[in-house]
Symmetry: C2
Subunit: 312 residues, 2 copies
């Protein structure tokens, strides 16, 4: 059902700036510079838990949108927030405090939006448009070339483990914030944009998002699972064996950057300058689809590659 | 409660582009041009009726946002749509058809957005960001000067009567479309922007919106009720006496433009060129607040001036 609806929208989105609704953001030429636009919604019970602190919900709403800007190498210039009053003045006030905090943290001004009353008992849902500016070419998901190395920033799987911790299914308090307060990789995106052939943010799971890069670029992507970077906290809570890595690489909400680029000194130096690990996890080759290996042997994997909720 | 939340947001919105959240849109200098950004939500049971055709809901979602661009004299360049799946594939498909239709009608490309699943039974709610571009000064609500004439485009009150017709409270089928398919005054806004001292769109009611212009501009606005332009269909269905005009002027959803400008030949000629009535309905003077008159006599009016749902 959702696929049909998205297909119908895609048929409308014929403007080149829409990037066929297949990218993280719309990119519009505006004079000499590029306007990068993203719009993500979060819904209680789907993207956050009913018990999550409202300050963290505000943080997440902003962060997931900024992560899309990061993937395009854009500098945020503002945001518009769509807010449905929750029925609790206390909750609303805490959300507003969270919005203030995250706006200051990432230096993104609130420019506008809309506040509406919802019907009684409605699930909380919020939308946000983030606006960014970028110079020069704006990377898409579609530019990966055979021979490129596939990289990720930071560590993978922490937010998925944090979600399990928030649900009381895992004892990993150190990872809660990775789920509730994602850190969009803005500086990394801006530094990497001129160096990459394709880039996207990892919102639905490293594997499913790598498959999307492969599909958009018309290449086959090999991921060497043993190279997927795990945090010490993840290893301590979940382990580091093949299935643990598979779980990490198919969990959502990482908001790291996944990119294809030749393995050059410039990339290596960028990691040092950013103080952020940039880890080669695989390569692009001729062909299509995704192939997974563990210590040199291709493996079969029938399980899910990540979240398929149709959001961009 | 809503006022507290909006006050909290306003305290965040210190960037000049935010116009203190008091205008119809955010206006951001972007290279040599101005980027005009608006974000409006519509909620079932609040902004549209559960029985409204989904094509019309899509039309209205787009039109209310384009109306904000019109009020700033902006040319639409694109839109991003936030859609919560309704639980009915048929409804969703009809909405997508409506979105296609309105996008073609106003030549606004769909650039992106987000589609999410809502919890079962959730009221339908949708958001939209419209992006426009404007050259030169972008009118705000705050520029009306003592001595200006106050004008409106088109006719007033038709959508309010159309809403009553949709609810079965009034026999006025000709006015249904004014409620369900508002016509943002894009061409008028673009033509008028260089000529006006203040402009906004009439979304909540002519009187309440005139009061907002008065407050933002620091002037007193006199509205001569007998000059408020009514359509023949409105007069036929509702009458044209003082109370009928008051009802028209305090009903929402007109999406006409309200502006302050000297009464010049340029304005009069613009009306002819647009083929759209531009009607002087009052004047701005020193002082503050709103004053209403009927055939030369100031009247007391204790009733509501329009909708106060806190949306922009």
């Amino acid at each position: 059902m959702e696929h049909n609806f998205i297909a119908a929208l895609r048929a409308l989105a014929t403007d080149p700036a829409a990037r066929r609704l297949l990218d993280d953001a719309a990119v519009l030429a505006f004079g000499d510079t590029r306007l990068v636009l993203t719009y993500d919604m979060i819904v209680e019970g789907v993207h956050f838990l009913p018990g999550d602190p409202p300050e963290d919900v505000a943080w997440k709403l902003v962060a997931v949108n900024l992560s899309d800007l990061a993937a395009k190498g854009a500098v945020p210039v503002g945001m518009l927030c769509g807010y449905m009053l929750s029925g609790s003045a206390e909750w609303d006030a805490a959300f507003a405090r969270g919005l203030a905090e995250v706006g200051v943290f990432f230096a993104v001004p609130l420019l506008g939006g809309d506040t509406v009353s919802g019907p009684p008992g409605a699930a909380r849902s919020f939308g946000l448009t983030a606006i960014g500016r970028a110079e020069g070419e704006v990377p898409s998901r579609a530019g990966a070339r055979a021979g490129d190395t596939i990289w990720v920033t930071g560590t993978i799987g922490d937010a998925g483990a944090g979600l399990r911790a928030a649900r009381g299914l895992l004892d990993a308090p150190a990872l809660l914030d990775r789920y509730r307060r994602p850190q969009p990789r803005l500086a990394a995106g801006q530094a990497l944009a001129p160096l990459v052939s394709a880039m996207m943010d990892v919102s639905d799971g490293l594997l499913i998002d790598a498959e999307r890069v492969a599909a958009a670029s018309g290449v086959r992507i090999y991921i060497d699972l043993e190279r997927v970077p795990l945090s010490d906290a993840y290893r301590a809570a979940c382990g580091g064996d093949r299935d643990d890595v598979l779980a990490a690489a198919s969990a959502g909400d990482d908001y790291e950057l996944l990119f294809a680029a030749p393995d050059t000194l410039a990339i290596r130096e960028t990691a040092g300058r950013l103080g952020l690990p940039l880890t080669p996890v695989g390569r692009a080759a001729a062909g299509h689809g995704l192939a997974l290996s563990w210590r040199g042997a291709i493996i079969d994997h029938d399980g899910p590659l990540g979240w398929e909720h149709g959001s961009r």
